[in-house]
Amino acid sequence: MFLLHPKIRWVGLASEKGDVIFVKMRPGVNSLSPEEEDRSFMELNPLLILGACGRLSKWAGDVESIAIRYEKVVMFLIRNNGKILALTMEKNGTPEGDHKIIATLSQSLQSMMS
């Protein structure tokens, strides 16, 4: 997963039932949050965010992905095939720069999760 892009810092994968499959920090990179907190986050929070946005899916179509810009990192959530993947990346200067990376990653991640 980390080979997809050098800016990926952290990756987590969970089922849509809230089972955390893994959370993993890129080797050599210092985590901003404790691993236990990351694991608790993965249990429900991405599902909640995706679920909240899914309220408009009836009209707008399925939620494919969500990008969240924190002050220090960018988080990207993607849902496919009954699983939810979350990753954080180093910021790439501007939101446009982040979106370019996300657009590049999105397709690869979707196919990896299928």
């Binding site: 849509e16 039932k17 809230g18 089972d19 955390v20 499959i21 893994f22 249990e43 429900l44 599902l47 909640l48 995706l50 679920g51 909240a52 899914g54 309220r55 899916s57």
Partner: protein, 163 residues
């Protein structure tokens, strides 16, 4: 946990098994949660909550009554469910240790069998059984029998893949 239900009108306080509770419209809450996020997501939220509550209540009871048998713990928690207004709960343990555990709730407080309602009725018991027997349990085959005004479901051990 002390016995019984105490309603103190003067203090505006309701206590069940020694714990302060609040009576509210649970069906409206379930419907609202189901509408805020997808039903499947709302079910996971309620599952997460109820599982912890069930586990905590069983652990608390075990701490307070270490001599109590599994059957006695289940009976006391069933009585508590009846007192909080969930319905009349009957838990039947299987003869073989690997079999599913049957739950029957007569006159259930919610009748729907998906979303938060499903989790509200069944998942508390998954947490209780997890505390009593170890491992992880999940509810399946949740069915509402309209003629009998009864919900039945089966709880069985589940495997969670984690690394």
């Amino acid at each position: 946990m002390s016995e019984g239900l105490v309603w103190d009108d003067e203090k505006g306080e309701l206590r069940i098994l020694g714990q302060r509770r609040v009576a509210f419209n649970v069906e409206a809450l379930c419907e609202h949660l189901d509408s805020l996020v997808a039903t499947s997501v709302a079910e996971v939220i309620m599952n997460n909550h109820e599982y912890r509550i069930g586990k905590r209540n069983a652990e608390l009871l075990r701490t307070q009554k270490p001599e109590a048998t599994v059957q006695e713990v289940i009976e006391q928690l069933s009585r508590a469910e009846r007192q909080v207004g969930i319905g009349v709960v009957k838990v039947t343990l299987p003869r073989e240790s690997t079999g599913a555990i049957d739950i029957e709730i007569t006159n259930p407080c919610v009748k729907r069998t998906a979303g938060t309602a499903k989790a509200l009725l069944a998942t508390n018991w998954c947490g209780v059984l997890s505390s009593l027997f170890g491992g992880d349990f999940e509810a399946g085959n949740l069915t509402y029998h309209e003629a009998k005004n009864k919900i039945t479901c089966k709880l069985s051990a589940r495997r969670v893949r984690q690394t």
